[in-house]
């Protein structure tokens, strides 16, 4: 692989106005012995350069599977993508050859995983692992790659980078390891970063450091960021817009401030009510009854209906579309949508 090859992939950093990434009607299913698990059921979202999209959901909501489909790191089989498009700068990645996709992965779209310790190779030094990006993708020599690795470690504010470049992952703390993961994702200056629960394994004080770093680097490079998380608190701090997923579908979409102020889906409202507040001592917590659905047997109609306090007959039979949400007087609320038959009642009370 040579540096000249790089130009084969268009890398216009200047945006052409359109979204960087657009996911259209994506479906992912897993064929298992017990039946077909529909993990993702028609997901649509997009991210522009410099924008942060948060994808919020509980375990089994399909948020990570969607990300893996975008990265092209799903194991197929058992996974299958029967339908949908993933457009990166207008080009459908699902139709690309493996070769073309490999050129995008890592270079244009990079991923940060949750568990840094198990994502790093324990028997190779971090400098070697960081340098690998440059050796493989840019054909740099070992020495140059190491110099680049040190530069990157400086970038993500690892103290005494030059002295620590030959250390192994176990010699770093959790926060430092996550910084190395971020450095690795940044190495080739991608246009889009997908961060899957990047701070879940970290302590709060370290979590704040890492999120700050990520936000700073995003601004500096004008990258798009997809932040996958289950934590409503982390999202509130950094995201521009948010998509809430439940049982493989997006149930609500909104600009970040709007969502917390006026949720338009009973699930979102339930989630917001069920987390205790740091700044006030509450009474009994609101608890969403029941359990997240088993994806082998998703309830008919709206998947949330067995847990919903507002469910009517229509919710048990008809799957709600993602309706655009408007003001009471019909005024437009840009970027808002809710997959609830009764979104009007939910948002306007």
């Amino acid at each position: 692989m040579t540096i000249i090859e790089e130009t084969a992939v268009p890398s216009p950093r200047e945006g052409d106005g359109g979204p960087l990434l657009e996911v259209r009607d994506l479906h992912v299913e897993f064929h298992t012995r017990e039946g077909v698990v529909r993990a993702v059921n028609g997901v649509n979202y997009n991210v522009h350069a410099g924008e942060t999209l948060a994808v919020l959901g509980e375990s089994g909501s399909g948020k990570s599977v969607t990300a893996q489909a975008i990265m092209g790191i799903l194991d197929m089989p058992p996974a299958k993508i029967p339908q949908g498009e993933i457009l990166f700068r207008g080009e459908d990645m699902l139709k690309m050859s493996g070769e073309d996709r490999r050129k995008i992965r890592g270079r244009r779209i990079a991923m940060i995983f949750q568990d840094a310790l198990s994502s790093l190779n324990p028997v190779l030094s971090v400098g070697y692992q960081l340098g690998e990006m440059f050796r493989v993708h840019q054909g740099l020599s070992k020495k140059d790659a190491k110099a680049k690795a040190i530069e990157l470690m400086d970038r993500v504010k690892i103290p005494a980078a030059a002295a620590r470049v030959n250390d192994y992952p176990h010699q770093f703390s959790g926060g430092m390891r996550q910084r190395i993961m971020i450095a690795m994702a940044l190495a080739l200056e991608p246009d889009l970063i997908i961060a899957d629960e990047p701070t879940t394994a970290l302590d709060v004080t370290v979590q704040a450091q890492v999120m700050d770093l990520l936000a700073e680097l995003q601004r500096e490079y004008n990258m798009g960021l997809i932040l996958i998380t289950h934590d409503l608190g982390v999202v509130a701090d950094v995201a521009d817009k948010i998509a809430v997923m439940y049982a493989g579908r997006i149930v609500e979409r909104a600009p970040i401030h709007e969502l917390y102020k006026r949720p338009a889906h009973p699930y979102t409202r339930g989630l917001l009510d069920s987390i205790p507040r740091l700044d006030q001592k509450g009474q009994e917590l609101y608890a969403i009854k029941g359990l997240p659905p088993n994806l082998l047997h998703v309830p008919t109609g709206c998947a949330f209906n067995p847990r919903c306090p507002k469910a009517q007959d229509i919710c048990r039979t008809d799957v709600p579309d993602l309706f655009p949400v408007t003001e009471r007087d019909g005024g437009e609320l840009p970027g808002r949508a809710s997959a609830c038959h009764f979104w009007k009642e939910t948002i306007h009370g």
Binding site: E58, Q209, Y260, P276, Y286
Partner: protein, 382 residues
């Protein structure tokens, strides 16, 4: 309960052993009798004094030589009152889980005392220890690994009865287990199922039912909800609060999620590197923190409200927690503290009500181990 902790306690930095009313038990029988006697609501049920746990670091294979020690817990004192919830918060490695293990007597303390109803459980053995173990139970963090996958739910919950048959005679056990399942909100007909047939939240309920089986007085919960989904966490928290009222339990609630700890606790202790940095009622700690570490910790918690966030001051600490094998001299927090001065490196600050607040009647007058304790609201928007 909050008032009790403030007024009845001697306002002393490290309470001496003499404060504790030691029941003079010459024989095991007397010790057992003391342990089985009930404690009034609001009286201290557990008193921890200068608890220390050092794990030795050794070198060499044949001739092991101790080269140091990981000072996981290094002089921790607190009281637990009957019927209250004491929250213990701190980052990983601060020693909070080691405290839990010491209270359960799963680890032997290096030094210090744990008085349960006046009996030092670090020195008990035999019948008296068995009686203590019946009364102090634990709920673990990970419901996926703390239940034996090859035992049915009935066997898991009923196993404590094999050791303490006096609680439920053999013929009664099945019925008793079904009652317990019902109490924690599971269908009693699930008694013959295996753990893998349940979701995470349901498994944590099974763990709680097992903890309740012997009618204990104290339950030590080590991160009981951190492995659960947000929508399920609230269910389990509500269940634990209900059970506390119903069975008159005292909880020690160890967690890293500060919002949940505030919700469930009457009093909260903040730990850093094996010591308690600050302890007080939930209002004192969250609304009037005086220790810089507590302030940094609270300000780092993301609040699920983008508007509240903008008015809040955020303190971002630099660096990582130092190694507990080689903690900084003086105040352990000084390497990351923005207020640190020479005094902090030379003098270990005692956990006491700061001098400047001693005479006033403010909520800031609670125990804080800082030379420069100062009140600062970091939780509410300015």
């Amino acid at each position: 309960m909050a008032e009790l902790s403030k007024n009845d306690e001697p306002q002393d930095a490290t309470p001496n052993v003499s404060d504790v009313e030691v029941v003079d038990a010459h024989s095991e029988t007397e010790a057992v009798a003391a342990i089985e006697a009930p404690v009034e609501r609001g009286e201290p049920i557990l008193q921890v004094r200068n608890l220390v746990k050092h794990f030795p670091l050794t070198q060499g294979i044949l001739f092991k030589k101790q080269i140091g020690a990981v000072k996981a817990v290094d002089g921790v004192s607190f009281d637990l009152y009957q019927g209250e919830t004491l929250g213990i918060v701190g980052e990983s490695g601060c020693g909070k889980s080691t405290v839990a293990k010491l209270l359960m007597n799963l680890e032997r303390a290096t030094a210090g005392e744990i008085f349960y109803k006046g009996q030092d459980i670090t020195k008990l053995s035999g019948r008296a220890m068995k009686a203590v173990r019946r009364n102090i139970q634990m709920v673990f963090q990970d419901p996926y690994t703390s239940l034996n996958p090859r035992m049915t739910v009935g066997d898991i919950i009923g196993e404590p009865f094999d050791i303490h048959p006096e609680v439920a005679p053999k013929g009664d056990r099945r019925k008793r287990v079904q009652e317990l399942l019902d109490v924690v909100g599971l269908n009693p007909e699930y008694i013959n199922r295996y753990p893998h047939q349940f979701s995470g939240g349901q498994r944590q309920r099974i763990g709680i039912a097992r903890g309740l089986a012997l009618n204990p007085e104290i339950i030590i919960c080590d991160e009981p909800v951190s492995a659960l989904d947000v929508s399920v966490q609230a269910q389990v928290i509500n269940l634990m609060e209900r059970l506390q009222d119903e069975f008159n339990l005292s909880y020690i609630f160890i967690a890293h999620d500060l919002s949940i700890v505030r919700h469930i606790s009457d009093r909260v202790g903040v730990m850093y590197l094996g010591k308690i940095a600050e302890i007080g009622t939930d209002e004192q700690i969250y609304d009037h923190p005086t220790h810089p570490y507590t302030q940094a910790l609270l300000s780092a918690v993301p609040v699920p409200d983008p508007e509240a966030r903008e008015g809040r001051e955020r303190i971002i600490l630099s660096g990582d927690v130092p190694s507990p094998a080689n903690p900084p001299s003086g105040c352990r927090f000084r390497t990351r503290c923005w207020k640190a001065e020479d005094k902090c490196a030379n003098e270990v600050p005692l956990l006491a009500i700061p001098e400047r607040f001693k005479t006033s009647d403010t909520p800031a007058a609670h125990e804080s181990a800082c030379h420069f304790a100062e009140e600062k609201d970091v939780v509410h928007a300015a």
